[in-house]
């Protein structure tokens, strides 16, 4: 099947939805594709209409009324067939989408670092557990240790607690001094969610332990206990879940595959959210981790700019630019301590898809050599988890993604030929 849109938006989180709405106001056709079962991205994962945040509900309302917007959930991109043609796959079909302008809003994922026992069932990311619980996982009565770094830990703990989880403790690797400095700096950025963040940080739960990090997860067939290093020494904690994540990283695979220029861990965009490729715009966390407020306004600017309403977009620049330094504040406050790169033992798994341990990888001095010999990065996740891990552990840089962008059925790849010839 071949679909057509004036503007194609990838990602139905805050940035993507804001971009779609803005673009739709110009009257042309808009398609949004997203790989989750419902819209909302990570922060609004349990459904737009369920959110406290009125912006989510408003977006939901307006987009439902916009006849020229079509949202395709459960759709993953296989690859690009041409500069204006990409191929997607759902659970039961494959389609190609022809577009004039492309807006990438692929969001962020957590930085998941290896430590002994991290592969035990029951060990997840912090946002990871939140996502699983928002998808309906029954967490009531379960003992959870939340660990890692960043304001996401507090949001996760609050979210889990509201669903009945017992938060045993929250281990933040950064120091109390830095956390407090971060909290007090938040006053420069007004906004409901920022206020909420500030409130949470200022009234930290009693079980919040800064300068602490997980050393090991233990258990027979699943997680039973976590050992942590704290400022007061070693701590052993019994629990059912360990929700551990060390900050957020942009999902850059698609942008890189398309050839968009990146600087460090972010796509470079101009003031109109335009990437180095003229018909591709980027918005939200992929331009730098800066949270939902930034994502919403970047999305709107991208949607306006993609539909040539540049003057309308310019009006929003000041508000958007206020968030630039928020991103660096976040990065600085929660920068990772060096001990986190030294937690692995020789038998600690680093590549989870192919079961490659730290000891095997240590012998190599670059990603490509290690990958060829150990098969690290050749499994189903194609290096998304272990690439980040080895970058943190060894400083290796990974290669650009090859198609398919995510695992794709053979029948879909066969359909590629017909799909690309349709374009000609």
């Amino acid at each position: 099947m071949m679909l057509r849109a004036d503007v194609l938006v990838v990602g139905a989180g805050p940035a993507g939805l804001a971009a779609a709405l803005a673009a739709s106001e110009a009257g042309g056709s808009v398609i949004v594709i997203d790989d989750n079962p419902i819209s909302g991205g990570q922060i609004w994962r349990s459904g737009l209409s369920q959110q406290h945040d009125v912006r989510a509900r408003r977006l939901h309302e307006k987009l439902s009324l916009a006849a020229n917007v079509r949202i395709l959930q459960g759709a993953r991109i296989i690859g690009m067939l041409d500069a204006h043609l990409l191929q997607i796959e759902t659970s039961d079909s494959t389609s190609s989408i022809y577009f004039d302008r492309l807006i990438l809003a692929t969001g962020a994922r957590e930085r998941l670092l290896p430590f002994p026992g991290w592969t035990l069932p029951g060990v997840t990311g912090a946002g990871g557990l939140q996502a699983l619980v928002k998808g309906g996982y029954p967490i009531a009565g379960k003992r959870v240790v939340v660990a890692g770094s960043g304001p996401l830990l507090l949001a996760t703990a609050a979210s889990l607690r509201s669903r009945g989880a017992k938060i045993v403790l929250i281990a933040e690797q950064t120091s109390m001094r830095r956390v407090m400095r971060f909290a007090s700096a938040l006053r420069h950025w007004p906004g409901k969610l920022i206020q909420a963040m500030q409130l949470r940080v200022q009234s930290l739960p009693s079980r919040y332990l800064p300068s602490s990090f997980v050393l090991e997860a233990r258990g027979k067939d699943c997680l039973q206990q976590v050992s942590l290093r704290t400022s007061k020494g070693l701590k052993l904690v019994d629990c059912d879940f360990l929700a551990c994540g060390y900050g957020l990283l942009p999902n850059l695979e698609l942008a890189r595959m398309l050839g968009c220029q990146t600087v460090g861990e972010a796509v470079s965009v101009d003031r109109f959210q335009r990437s180095s490729i003229t018909h591709i715009f980027c918005a939200g966390e992929i331009t730098g981790i800066a949270g939902v407020d930034s994502a919403l306004i970047q999305g709107r600017i991208a949607g306006l700019a993609a539909t040539e309403r540049l003057t309308d977009a310019e009006v929003l620049f000041n508000e958007r630019d206020r968030w630039h330094s928020f991103a660096s504040l976040l990065a600085q406050a929660f920068s990772l301590r060096p001990e986190l790169a030294r937690l692995c033992r020789e038998d600690t798994i680093v590549c989870r898809c192919e079961d490659v341990c730290y000891g095997e990888l240590m012998q190599y001095d670059n990603w490509r050599g290690a990958k060829l010999q150990t098969r690290c990065g050749m499994g189903a996740c194609q290096g998304r988890i272990c690439g980040t891990a080895t970058q943190h552990l060894f400083g290796w840089t990974t290669e650009s993604s090859r198609p398919p962008l995510s695992p794709a059925r053979i029948e879909s790849l066969i359909a590629t030929k017909a799909a690309s010839s349709l374009a000609d």
């Binding site: 790989d35 989750n36 998941l112 069932p121 990311g125 990871g128 309906g136 989870r352």
Partner: protein, 84 residues
């Protein structure tokens, strides 16, 4: 009253609310999805379709991501626990 669905997890019928993801349908205390290359049991890690640890067999098709798939009425779900 939320809409309920009936799915079959490793041969056993389970009632879940509409909108529940497959991983959540595995049930309380049971969230082993697959076996690793060296045979150890694994469960979900990232919760958002990236780590591929939550691969299960859904309606006869292997390697589908449980964290990103919503249950539908009559769905057959098999994890590594289906063939111990």
């Amino acid at each position: 009253m939320p809409e309920m669905l009936r799915v079959i997890v490793n041969g056993k019928p389970v009632l879940v609310q509409a909108g529940t993801t497959v991983i959540a349908a595995l049930g309380e205390g049971a969230w082993v999805t697959r076996r690793s290359v060296r045979g150890t049991e694994r469960g979900p890690l990232c919760g958002m379709g990236i780590c591929q640890e939550c691969r299960v067999c859904i309606d006869g098709v292997m390697h589908r991501l449980a964290c990103q798939t919503a249950c539908h009425e009559g769905m057959h779900i098999e994890t590594v626990k289906a063939t111990p």
